[in-house]
């Protein structure tokens, strides 16, 4: 459609293309580690009543290390992709290691450019674009808040 057609979609703003990139939409539509565990060591749920986003998180540990993790939930692409990527980042890590990743992630969301380049965040860096959209920060952080609660519940 020619760009002058008022009914057609014009090119989206650059920071949006950066945000809604392939990898995020892929995690939104084909979430990894989706499901529940039969015998989780910890199970927590977090909802954002303002927008209806919700995440249920199941974790199983081997000593101090995460053995398995599953999530279910519903909500926007950002909250669900963030949850999906997060579960991938957890596997095999200790609570201390997870805490470090979580801190780095929230620094990235807060707009820290160093965090947005930090290889330790892996695929999660795809969410760096959310820093520019403060109203969406809670979406990106929802799963991580559930995780923080899960870890603190475990003690």
């Amino acid at each position: 459609m020619p760009p002058s057609d008022p009914g057609g979609g014009d090119a989206p703003a650059p920071h949006l293309s950066a945000l809604y990139q392939e990898v995020i939409l892929d995690h939104y539509r084909r979430p990894r580690n989706r499901g529940t565990l039969e015998h989780p060591d910890v199970a927590v749920a977090k909802k954002n009543p303002l927008c209806g986003d919700e995440i249920h998180l199941h974790l199983a540990f081997d000593g101090d290390r995460v053995r398995e993790v599953r999530f279910t939930g519903q909500g926007c692409a950002i909250s669900q992709a963030s949850a999906s990527m997060m579960t991938q980042a957890l596997a095999g890590k200790t609570a201390a290691e997870i805490g470090a990743v979580a801190r780095r992630f929230s620094e990235m969301v807060a707009g820290d450019p160093a965090a947005a380049r930090d290889a330790a965040l892996g695929e999660l860096r795809a969410l760096a674009g959310v820093a520019k959209i403060p109203v969406r920060h809670p979406c990106a952080l929802l799963a991580w808040n559930a995780l923080a609660e899960a870890l603190s519940t475990r003690g």
Binding site: G9, P12, G52
Partner: protein, 406 residues
């Protein structure tokens, strides 16, 4: 379909020519005339009304009285002292639930609301029922989105004390038959309480003809300032109600062990009144009257029809609620698997302001089977170009998310 009131009359819109404001159901932008009236009150007439014995205070009192009268007239209420100023619809409805409700609803009584109420007309009644041991009943919607009158009729009985319902839905835009519902309620001796938050700004309202006992509304949704709203009521009911809040102005005599109350409207307005914002709201009523509410309604209908048709024509878009002619200026929709919040973010990047979420109507969202919808709502400053921008933004969102899965 050019704007009914030029954007230039709205300083915020005039300053941001690219802004496409489609969230008027949440709050409207303010015309210069309202901002001027508000400021002029503070610059010329500001004092504590009712209490002073000097000319400035008499002027403030007179401005407050005149604002009440102007607003009562706008809403077809002849007895202006039955227009009670509140902070907004929420306070107005809580006032009725707390004052009338606590005095009249007991164990075993029944309170009826609809499944499409805004939380402000749902939670106060739900909590009153829980507190009083009354039964809280929810009347479902007919397929056209309006309250199912057959079910309502079947639900009403001698224990029904209140029927609380909305004039216009803030999610679906449906318009309920207020007079008919009021008659059903009165038929069993129940109170008819109408949430007019989305009715007052968009439809001609003639309170004395509507038949309801109460009609609640917010100034900020009808070009007025924030912080002011109105409870329109029938004198007979208002007279028998105990006060809501207590303090200055609403008392007659304060003895050490008991007190007596002032006459209406003061009995229900404790404390220093918000004269400034009341004057601002009166200016808004003046402006809307000058245009004519019939024209406001016609303008919104034209916009809503176009928006409805153009959005519905996009593959993957689902519009909720009735056909455009049966609704007020609100369109709720979803776009394939694009979550409404993602949609709102994408539209916002194009300066198109819509709302996404549960719209303070979680019970209705459950009934619609969605967690959230996108909502565009129109008012006097919108024109067809705003719909162009909305439609273009929706297409962009689809592209961004990839057509395939829509």
């Amino acid at each position: 379909m050019s704007a009914l009131i030029d954007r230039d009359e709205f300083p915020l819109l005039a300053r941001a020519p690219e802004l496409v404001y489609l969230d008027s159901a949440a709050t409207t932008q303010k015309p210069r005339a309202v901002l001027d009236a508000l400021r002029a009150y503070y610059e010329h007439d500001n004092a504590n009304p009712h209490r002073g014995a000097y000319a400035l205070s008499a002027r403030a009192t007179e401005r407050y009285r005149a604002a009440r009268e102007r607003i009562a007239r706008f809403f077809g209420l002849a007895d202006a002292d039955c227009a009670i100023f509140t902070r907004g619809t929420t306070e107005a409805l809580n006032l009725v639930a707390a004052s009338w409700g606590r005095a009249n609803v007991g164990a075993g009584d029944e309170i009826v609301v609809s499944g499409a109420e805004h939380h402000a007309n749902f939670v106060p009644w739900q909590q009153l029922a829980l507190e009083r041991g009354a039964r809280f009943r929810i009347c479902e919607l007919a397929p056209d989105g309006r309250i199912d009158l057959d079910q309502l009729r079947a639900m009403l009985g001698p224990r029904t004390k209140v029927v609380a319902f909305h004039h216009v839905s803030n999610v679906l835009g449906t318009i309920n038959p207020v007079r008919e519902i009021a008659e059903l309620a009165h038929g069993v001796g129940a109170l008819a309480v109408c949430d007019g938050a989305q009715g007052a700004p968009h439809l001609p309202v003639a309170f004395d003809q509507l038949g309801v006992d109460f009609y609640a509304l917010s100034g900020h949704k009808m070009l007025g300032p924030m912080g002011i709203g109105v409870l329109l009521g029938r004198r007979e009911v208002l007279e028998r109600m105990p006060p809501y809040m207590m303090g200055g102005d609403m008392i007659e005599f304060v003895h050490d062990d008991r007190s007596t109350w002032n006459v209406l409207p003061h009995k229900l307005e404790a404390g220093t009144p918000n004269v400034g914002d009341a004057v601002g709201l009166a200016a808004a009523a003046e402006l809307l009257d000058a245009i004519g509410m019939d024209r406001v309604r016609a303008h919104e209908q034209a916009l809503v029809r176009t928006a409805y048709e153009r959005l519905s024509a996009i593959e993957g878009v689902h519009v909720y609620g009735p056909a455009p002619d049966a609704r007020s200026g609100v369109v709720s929709f979803t776009v394939g698997d694009v979550h409404p919040h993602d949609l709102a973010t994408i539209l916002d990047a194009r300066q198109v302001c819509i709302r996404a979420g549960h719209h303070c109507a979680q019970p209705l969202m459950r009934r619609l089977g969605v967690a959230a919808t996108a909502r565009a709502s129109f008012y006097v400053y919108n024109d067809e170009s705003d719909i162009d921008a909305l439609v273009a933004g929706v297409r962009t969102a689809k592209e961004l998310f990839g057509h395939a899965t829509v």
